[in-house]
Symmetry: C2
Subunit: 223 residues, 2 copies
Amino acid sequence: MKALTPKGAATRQRIIEGAAAEIRERGAAATTLDDVRARTGTSKSQLFHYFPDGKEELLLAVARYEADRVLTDQQPQLSDLTSWPTWSAWRDRVVARYLGQGRSCPLNGLVSQLGRTTPGAQAVLTELLHAWQAEITAGIRHMQRIGEVDPGLDAERASAALIAGIQGGVMVMLATGRIGHLEAALDVGIDNLRASRRDNVVSGLPDRRLNPASARHDRQETA
Amino acid sequence: MKALTPKGAATRQRIIEGAAAEIRERGAAATTLDDVRARTGTSKSQLFHYFPDGKEELLLAVARYEADRVLTDQQPQLSDLTSWPTWSAWRDRVVARYLGQGRSCPLNGLVSQLGRTTPGAQAVLTELLHAWQAEITAGIRHMQRIGEVDPGLDAERASAALIAGIQGGVMVMLATGRIGHLEAALDVGIDNLRASRRDNVVSGLPDRRLNPASARHDRQETA
DNA sequence: CAAAAAATGGACCCGCAAGTCCAGAATCCC
DNA sequence: GGGATTCTGGACTTGCGGGTCCATTTTTTG
């Protein structure tokens, strides 16, 4: 694990990228170590040399690799959500990214493969989601500061809802092949941010609260 | 497949339910036919008697079974979204359902297991999503009819966004164990439906459109 | 009740893919 | 240059799990 020669590091990286490509094409469940070996022009012993814990460790490395890509593919807009045109550009970028990716979500398959087995897999996802949401929250807060979004709005919650919408939109795309839900989630989410400000300006109600009633009532003994 | 004796039908059903339970506990990927056999007190030959195409056919049957449960678990509220209290009760019911289900989403694992292999798996999901969204759309349209939601709002798109938010909220819960995103998606989505009407009433702008600008511009050559 | 059909039990087969091992080649470090 | 270390090749083992087969029992049907 330590003391990795330059050549070794390159090979290791080649293995990760080859495995990632293989997984995108055939899915995480269907990808075998032999597939990776063949594609990357390596041998069994190298796979276990660089990933002593075998497939699990390799898949985890690929998951980390893919998680990085998710965020970098949204740059530079994601870190600069400071005007509506940038929000719009970001929206288009997200749509384009997942449209281009087609029917496969490497991370989804990867995590549901490692799943319960590895705590590391969930850590990767948790960290990704956290970083992602932090960027969006920062963007919303900025829009609030420059008066483009209702300052009374809960930025954390709005970004949580937006993240959820994106995730779900992607998931629907995986199942159905249609990207409409992802677009709808993004458009509705962003429009609501915009609308929150316009409402205040037009109606002049400074105390408008989101979610006035649905928060703390448990009534599920209907059936 | 045809001519199924009552006893046979019962056994078949027992197998499906046992497999579903096993998958919930250990995940779709980790569940073997032998696990199912052991839990349901059946033999190998019975499994293949009732599911001649083997594991694939069984998993598909389980997927159908779980898909049914998703919708029925939301009844009767889902089919009766005709007042805000019902919407709120539905919201609580969805949250409670996925909270109780804990860390496993049988359908997610199931589909990513069958995945690319079977067109049938995607058909199940597509149908589920379609039926689900139809119910929500009907609810929104009803609220529009009784003047509780802006009639200019695109009901199909709002329901698409809401569905996406729920899916993503569940997915986040699977990864992180926290249910906040699901709650946020539901609350924000429903609040926005409510707010759309209040905005109109207060501001008196009948021509308020959602998504005025973000639809048809491709600007993603920034990086 | 008897023949046919369905349901059941369980031993067996078989291929695949993860993981092991060791020998040899390339590289590093002094 | 030479000893140590890392890197690479590929044959081999192994276990698991999906799928097959047939004999036996139970149920249906006429």
